[in-house]
Each structure stands twice: as C-alpha cells, then as structure tokens.
C-alpha cells in the first residue's frame, strides 16, 4: 500500500515537471535549451532532458499537427509539413526572398566559417557584397570579428536564426562538402 502511494507521488511529480517544461517550451519565441529550463526550475538536468524526450514522444503519438523539434541547440513547438500550404495562405504575408546567389553565399559561409568576403568571392569567382548584405539584414549571418591580415577584413559566421530556419541542431549537422563531389551523378542515379 505504502509503496503504491510513493509511486503515485513520484509519477505525479514527473507529470508535474513535464507540464512545466511543456509550458516553457510552448511560450518561448526561440528554441529553449534544456539547461535553461533545468536552471530555472532548479531541477536535475538529466531529469529535464528525459522529460523533454518523453514529451517529444507523447506529441508524436498524438498524431496531431504539432511536434516538438530539437533545433539550434534547443526545443521548439512547430507545425508539421503537411500543413504548409494552408498555413502559408493563412499567414498571408510577403515572404523574405533568398536568391540562388544568396543561398550559395550562405552555404559557403556555413561551411567555411568564420570566413571573409574575399574567401567567399574566391570560391564563387564574383563579388558577393550584395548577397552578404542581404544575409546580414535577414540575420542569417553576422560579423564575428576581424581577420588578422592587412586590411583586417570582417569575419562572417552563421547565426542561431540560421540553425532555426534550416532545422539544424548544430552546424555539424550539415553534410560534409566532400559528399557533393559527384552530386549530379548521385541525383541521376536516384
């Protein structure tokens, strides 16, 4: 009898912790890190991490329209892809546009970071100043310092927003550049 009672309070406590975590993730505008949650709730980090994993599974089991995703080193509620057309229409706003050139520059900086404009120009064979300023304006890249060479050019790196937008947990989740040696061949074979 006593044992069962203990079990119930333990379960209740776990449920209580999970609810708190869920609430924090729900109201947050940017991905929340498990450490942040643990510090705020004054709870054990492992316990918090386990609870988040359980929450992810629970939401998955619900088979609803929402999921919890691990991005940019934190956790975030997001809608499932099947709703994308409907929601785009509902939001009804002009999208931010990223040109092919912009994406190219972003890709090079993501791989080479921290990188200078000259390093990007060298790979592309063309001046990238326009694309770089658009990417900075959109907060996908930022200046992280200056290179210790004559002229002290700015060094650029990707931002947390880049990770968030491209659904990456860390920059290491990007594939290796060597994998793209025979990209066209791979595409053809697929």
């Amino acid at each position: 009898m006593k044992i069962k009672f203990n079990l119930n309070t333990r379960e209740a406590r776990m449920k209580n912790l999970k609810n708190k975590i869920e609430g924090i993730i729900f109201i947050s505008d940017t991905p929340v890190k498990s450490k942040e949650i643990a510090d705020f709730l004054n709870e054990d980090l492992i316990k918090v991490k386990n609870s988040i994993q359980e929450l992810i599974i629970e939401w998955e089991r619900k088979e609803g329209s929402i999921k919890i995703e691990e991005v940019a080193g934190g956790f975030q509620f997001r809608t499932k892809e099947e709703l994308k057309e409907m929601l785009t229409e509902y939001i009804n706003k002009k999208p931010y546009r990223l040109s092919r050139a912009g994406l190219e520059v972003l890709g090079i900086i993501a791989k080479k970071q921290p990188a200078t404009k000259i390093e990007v120009d060298k790979i592309r064979g063309v001046d990238s100043v326009g694309a770089i300023s658009v990417l900075i304006e959109r907060d996908l890249i930022k200046v992280v310092g200056e290179k210790e060479v004559p002229g002290r050019p700015f060094l650029y790196a990707t931002t947390d927003l880049f990770l968030e937008v491209f659904s990456l947990n860390t920059i290491k989740d990007l594939p290796e550049i060597g994998e793209f040696e025979d990209y066209e061949k791979v595409l053809k074979e697929e």
Binding site: T79, T88, P95, E104, D127, G130, A131, L174, G178
Partner: protein, 243 residues
Amino acid sequence: MKDLNSSNSNFEKVKLDIFEGPLDLLLNLIKENNLDIYELSLTQITEQYLEYVELLKEFNFDDIGDYLVIAAELARLKSRSLLPDNEDESMIDEPEIDLVEMLKEYKKYRAFSENLRERVLLGRDTFKRPTDLSLRSNTLWEVQKTDIWKLVTSVKKVLQLENYKEIPDIEIEEDSIDQDQRRISIINNFKDRKILKFNEIFNIKDGRESVIVSFIVILDMIKEGNVLVVEDEDQIQFEYKGS
C-alpha cells in the same frame, strides 16, 4: 575581383545579386554542351562564354570585371591549346588561376547550397508559434530556384535575331526608353492576364534598347518577387505575383 568596368551603355548600372557569377555561367555552358570539367572542354566553350560577356556588357552589369578575369583565363587556355605540342610552353604566361580546380571547388559548393534549399525550412515548410498571433508575425521564407541564365539565353537569342535584319542606319536619339515607363507598361500588360509569354515582353520589333530595358526591369521584378519565371515545355513565361 573588382571593377574593370568598361561599358558604353547609357543605362543605369545593374547591380543584382540574382546572378551567380562567371563560374556558374561556365558550369551551365559545360552542362549544356554535355562536357566534363577539363581544360579541353573550356577551350570548346570559350566563344559561347564570350558571347554572354558581350551581352552582360551591354546591360552595364556591375560585376562585369569578374567575368572578364575568367574570359582572360579562357583566352590563355585557348591560345595554349592551339600551340603545336613541341612548341616551348614557357612562351605562354603562367596561369594566375587554375580554372579547372576553381570550377570543381565551386561546383561542390553550388550543389551543397542546392541541398540546403531542400531542408525543412522554418517559415516555408514548418511554422512556430509567433509571439503575437493577432499580427500573424510569422516570417515566411521563399528560396528562389529561377535559373537566370535561361532567361539571359532567351534574351540573347532575341537580340541576335536583330543582326540578321537589314535595318537602315537611322538612330532616333531622343526617343530613349525609360526604365520606369517600361515597368509601368509591363505591369499594365499583366493587369489583363497573370501570365505573359516571353515574346510578349521581349520583342525585337520594339528595338534593341527596348529589349535590354525590358530585361533590366524584369530582373528587378524577379528580385522583388513580383514576377516569377515559369518554364512551360522549354518556353519561358512570366507570372505576375504583385498586387
């Protein structure tokens, strides 16, 4: 890689980041000609490349200097390939850039960025709960796929048509075409139909200058997202997205 700008054009300088640059153009030409990236392939497409550069000069394209650097290297490769084997190669200047290596390296990054586009994008494929739903503050993203070179190729063909026509050499100076004016007339054409065919915007009968101005206006509209290039059975069409 900056400005050796030399153009006699009267138009405003075109500064557009939708062009991917000279290496992208070269890769496209190599692919079109079913070649692989070798020095020999490069010498085969030199003339085609130069045709594009001539056209870009006419648009008063801002980054033309970067295209000329590559053109010089292509010319060097070509002249070397024309030398008989026993000729002393030290007669030719040493290469300043290894174009084949550059192309291979660039191609990897181009493929990588295409791969980036296919990821699940927040604001395109998935959405988060915005801070203030009443404002629908979600940010939408759109990643453009348009291959600008296809458009340039079509414009190039139209302009070449003109060369075959015998036009008496009468230039009417004051009747130059204004970009803003051309823009208004293009938007007007779109008012009736959302989709216009390529030759409804680009017609050599309107004159060379008109075609070039139209091209600059259309590029601007693509950049703003007001016009979308759609390909229908190899035909380029334009869809109006503006309001």
